[in-house]
């Protein structure tokens, strides 16, 4: 009975969350574009870009929560998938610059001219077409996650070992992408973008549209995660999280389930990265830094591991705090706060904000008179078939 009530209350939370995201996705761009600049209700363009960044982080947080919260895989290298998606998009944007670059080369991006490339490396073929780049945004992180996961899960690398080798993976990519001769812009990364699908990246309209698209992507990602975790597959994932060996002994092919959800999660992270890059205007190797990936994990922990709404909220709350504190006089103390957040959340708030809140509500409900509980149970009976689907 208890899990049903939890699911239902989350369902309500999920609905509210989706409505809020949809409303923001429509209202913020409209207010930015239609209201006169400087008016009280007008959202300035820089805020649109900033919130667009938060929304991308929220998608990344969802992808981490999907594997950590529901399958117990703690990846400390999810920033790598995010950055790879970002690089795929960045490569498309670089190819769009064309002759408007500093060196005016129609084919080669500026940094390649600078490094004396005579022709385009094969890795850059096709990135002048948007559909190809969009495919790569899903395919490259997905392929890496598939290969990595296939090797790791098949040989039953679990727990902290998996965490450490995912960290080594993103560290290795960081070192590789920092190299100039790796062909992806070296330590400067890719930047100086001009336009996307023919629209100027810097224009207000484009930024507003990108924000709306990010919100749409967040909603879609949420719905995909939701349908995965509430399906029968999701039940198996939770079983694997709680008792991996027992699930294996019961006849489930644990590694296949894990591989599926890990790859799906990597693709989502890639999409988040791809939406992130045109909004911040740069992608460089520091996105691969192991610290970034761990920070993304803490967003999920703050919001509530195993609650999808919590993951997205955690990403937004922590990043809002980061922007707030790193821009003022408190800037030198931000790392203290972030560090303390890691420690306090794991010690005192292991379920995160949303998890603690729903546990608290559940307790309050149990203390209510029996009659109310009975009617709640009846409602549960109605919702049950829906859940079994």
């Amino acid at each position: 009975m208890t899990p049903h009530m939890l699911t239902r209350s989350l369902d309500r939370g999920a609905t509210i969350f989706l409505l809020v995201v949809a409303a923001l996705g429509v209202l913020i761009p409209l207010s930015n574009l239609l209201l006169p600049a400087g008016s009280f209700l007008q959202v300035p363009t820089y805020l649109v870009a900033l919130w667009g960044k938060y929304v991308c982080y929220a998608i990344l947080a969802l992808s981490i929560d999907l594997i950590w919260g529901y399958c117990g895989i703690l990846s400390l290298g999810h920033g790598a998938f995010f950055a790879l998606g970002g690089y795929a998009m960045g490569m498309y944007l670089m190819r769009q610059i064309g002759t408007r670059g500093v060196y005016g080369n129609p084919i080669l991006p500026d940094f390649m001219v600078f490094l004396n490339y005579s022709k385009l490396p094969w890795t850059w073929y096709g990135f002048d077409m948007f559909w190809f780049a969009a495919l790569m945004v899903l395919f490259v992180p997905g392929l890496l996650a598939f290969c990595f996961g296939w090797l790791a899960f098949r040989s039953r690398v679990t727990g902290v070992y998996l965490s450490i080798i995912t960290q080594a993976m993103t560290y290795a990519l960081l070192l590789a992408f920092f190299r100039n001769d790796f062909g992806f812009g070296g330590n400067n990364g890719l930047t100086d973008f001009k336009d996307i699908l023919g629209f100027n990246v810097q224009a207000e309209g484009t930024r507003a549209a990108l924000f709306a698209l990010s919100c749409l992507a967040l909603i879609l990602a949420f719905l995909i995660c939701r349908s995965v975790v509430s399906s029968k597959l999701g039940k198996v994932l939770i079983a694997i999280r709680d008792a991996e060996s027992r699930s294996r002994f019961l006849g489930y092919r644990v590694e296949s389930y894990k591989l599926f959800v890990f790859t799906l999660s990597a693709c989502m992270a890639g999409v988040a990265g791809a939406l992130y890059v045109p909004q911040v205007g740069i992608i460089n190797p520091s996105e691969f830094a192991p610290g970034n990936s761990i920070e993304a994990v803490i967003w999920v922990a703050v919001g509530g591991r195993g609650t999808l709404v919590g993951a997205a909220l955690g990403a937004i709350v922590v990043n809002y705090a980061k922007t707030f504190f790193t821009s003022g006089v408190l800037a030198p103390y931000w790392l203290f706060m972030l560090g303390a957040l890691f420690i306090l959340v794991t010690l005192l708030l292991p379920k995160g904000i949303v998890g603690t809140f729903s546990a608290w509500r559940e307790q309050a409900r149990e203390r209510r008179p029996a009659a109310t509980t009975a009617s709640a149970a009846a409602e549960d009976g109605i919702t049950e078939p829906k859940m079994a689907e």
Binding site: L74, L76, F148, L151, A152, R154, S155, R156, V157, T158, G159, V160, Y161, S163, I164, I165, Q167, A168, M169, Y171, A172, L175, A176, F178, R179, E244, S245, P290, I294, V297, I298, A301, P332, Y333, L335, F336, L338, G339, A340, L341, F342, I343, V345, T346, L347, P350
Partner: protein
């Protein structure tokens, strides 16, 4: 006796000067040669260099070195040559007499590349008899490289007088180099020269032999070819030895950084992401100790590291116990949460150090017994790397002995093997936990003392080691100190052997990828503990 001699020598030189003064019109070959610098003709200048360098005159060295630096000024009208000192004062090159100022019509004597070589050779032979041992050795080396025929007489002269063994060898090699390139040297002389150069056997010898030209007698050319072959193969061996040494050195650094982790992660199963910060705290302890010594007791500087080692152990160990009591003990059995909390802790510690000591690198000095290097065959071994290797092995042995033979070590092993049984036997498990964690952290602090000698002491010091340390422990096998030892040295040596082939960064990436693949094959590391547990 020596003072008397030198006094006599001085008076002799003085009288020479007086003669020079008294008879300015009676110009000797030295003065004639000096005047040739004023002709502004490259072949005259060359001739002048040869005569001046061979004259044995006291002014020869200042003149030639001034020529090299463009400080030799010549007046084409009066044919007078002046040496402008680095301090701006000038002397007449022919007499050594101080002059008030160099006339405006004088300009610096010009050189071309061929002359520059003669100048180098001349300077080389001039310093061959310098009283300074290092200067003589360097002069002999520079003659070896330039092998100018004009240097043959000075080299042979110096060789006859030389008493120091290493300088004598160097001079012999220089002589051999000259003879090898001298067109009128006999075949026997040349063959001997090849043998001498072959015995030297380094990169310079190889370069010299490879460029002897085609106009050599057949027997010499053949001897040279075989010498090149044997030098090359011995150099290849030496370069492997050097790689192995670098690998051992890197391995010792890795082991030092990982050995504390082998205790906390390997024995206790606690993921301590703040381990690197314990290393950093050890390094900063060294910095503070050295600062205090510098300002208060400068005489103790050579003992600074000996003082820093126990202090760093206590400071880092104390912080470790504090961390265990306040954070980690609440998280036993939740490894992923421990990982996150200790990561947060590492951010806090880094920022705290940044606030206290500033974000820039701090200077930590090497005590005299750790600076410098010595040569072993063809490789150079620096004392600090050697000491760190010895120190690491000592720490390893002490730690191993501690776990094996002391009461605390016994209790630690008991608690890790079966916590509840140990508790039933009366072991205070929570005390053992705190002490074990403190021990691991303290050893990280000691590692910081050693690493402060070879790395930048900055708040980010720890972060650069944390991933490598985890790789070592995971590769070697968790819960096994011997595994950590083998893992560290294997990774260090593999890294250094890959570096020349693939480059430093690609080599490192290759190692990371290899470890990731290795973990697929042996998920519990090289030396896995055998047990019945399905899940660790």
């Amino acid at each position: 006796m020596p003072t008397k001699l030198s006094a006599r020598f001085c008076s002799f030189v003085l009288s020479l000067f007086l003669i020079a003064f008294a008879l300015p019109a009676f110009a000797g070959p030295f003065e004639d040669a000096v005047a040739k610098f004023a002709n502004d003709d490259f072949s005259d200048t060359d001739e002048a260099i040869g005569v001046v360098a061979g004259s044995g005159n006291k002014l020869a060295f200042p003149i030639i070195s001034a020529l090299q630096d463009g400080r030799l000024m010549a007046d084409p009208d009066t044919k007078k040559v002046y040496v402008t000192g680095t301090d701006g004062k000038s002397i007449d090159a022919a007499t050594g007499e101080a002059v008030a100022s160099v006339p405006d019509s004088a300009s610096a004597v010009r050189l071309n590349n061929r002359l520059r070589r003669s100048v180098d050779a001349a300077l080389g032979s001039l310093t061959l008899q310098s009283p300074d041992l290092v200067a003589r050795l360097q002069a002999a080396q520079s003659v070896f490289k330039s092998h100018e025929e004009t240097a043959l007489d000075p080299v042979e002269g110096a060789l006859a007088k030389e008493t120091n063994k290493s300088v004598k060898t160097a001079l012999g090699e220089a002589r051999a180099a000259i003879l090898l390139f001298k067109s009128d040297a006999t075949e026997v002389q040349k063959l001997e020269a090849v043998a001498t150069i072959k015995a030297r056997g380094d990169q310079d010898a190889l370069a010299l032999l490879s460029d002897i030209g085609t106009d050599q007698p057949a027997s010499v050319a053949k001897a040279a070819t075989s010498a090149i072959g044997s030098i090359q193969s011995s150099l290849a061996v030496w370069s492997s030895v050097q790689n192995a040494w670098y690998g051992l050195s890197l391995g010792s650094v890795l082991l030092l950084a990982a050995i504390g982790l082998a205790i906390t992660f390997g024995v206790m199963g606690v993921i301590n992401m703040a381990h690197g910060e314990m290393v950093m705290i050890g390094a900063y302890t060294t910095f503070v100790v050295q600062e205090v010594i510098r300002t208060r007791y400068p005489a103790l500087f050579d003992y600074s590291l000996l003082i820093a080692v126990p202090l760093a152990f206590l400071v880092a160990g104390g912080i470790g116990v504090l961390i265990e009591r306040s954070i980690i003990r609440f998280l036993y059995g939740r490894p992923l949460e421990t990982l996150l909390a200790t990561w947060g802790l590492s951010l806090v510690l880094q920022q705290a150090v940044r606030t206290m000591f500033g974000p820039t690198n701090r200077e930590v000095g090497n005590p005299s017994w750790m600076s410098g290097a010595f040569e072993l065959g063809q490789i150079t071994i620096t004392y600090n790397r050697l000491w760190i290797l010895c120190f690491t092995l000592a720490v390893f042995v002490i730690l191993l002995a501690m776990l094996r033979y002391t009461a605390l070590g016994l209790e630690m092993r008991a608690v890790t093997q079966n916590r509840r049984m140990a508790a039933s036997m009366g072991i205070a498990t929570s005390r053992v936990d705190a002490l074990t964690f403190g021990l691991g952290s303290g050893i990280a602090g000691i590692a910081g003392v050693a690493l402060s000698q070879i790395d930048n002491v900055s708040p980010n010091l720890g972060q650069s080691y944390i991933i490598d340390s985890f790789m070592v422990v995971v590769f070697g096998g968790v819960g096994n100190l011997w595994g950590t030892l083998v893992g560290a040295f294997t990774l260090g040596v593999a890294n250094k052997f890959l570096e020349p082939v693939a480059g430093a960064v690609l080599g490192k990436i290759a190692i990371l990828v290899l470890i990731i693949l290795f973990i697929q094959k042996r998920p519990r590391g090289l030396f896995a503990l055998k047990g019945r547990a399905v899940e660790a």
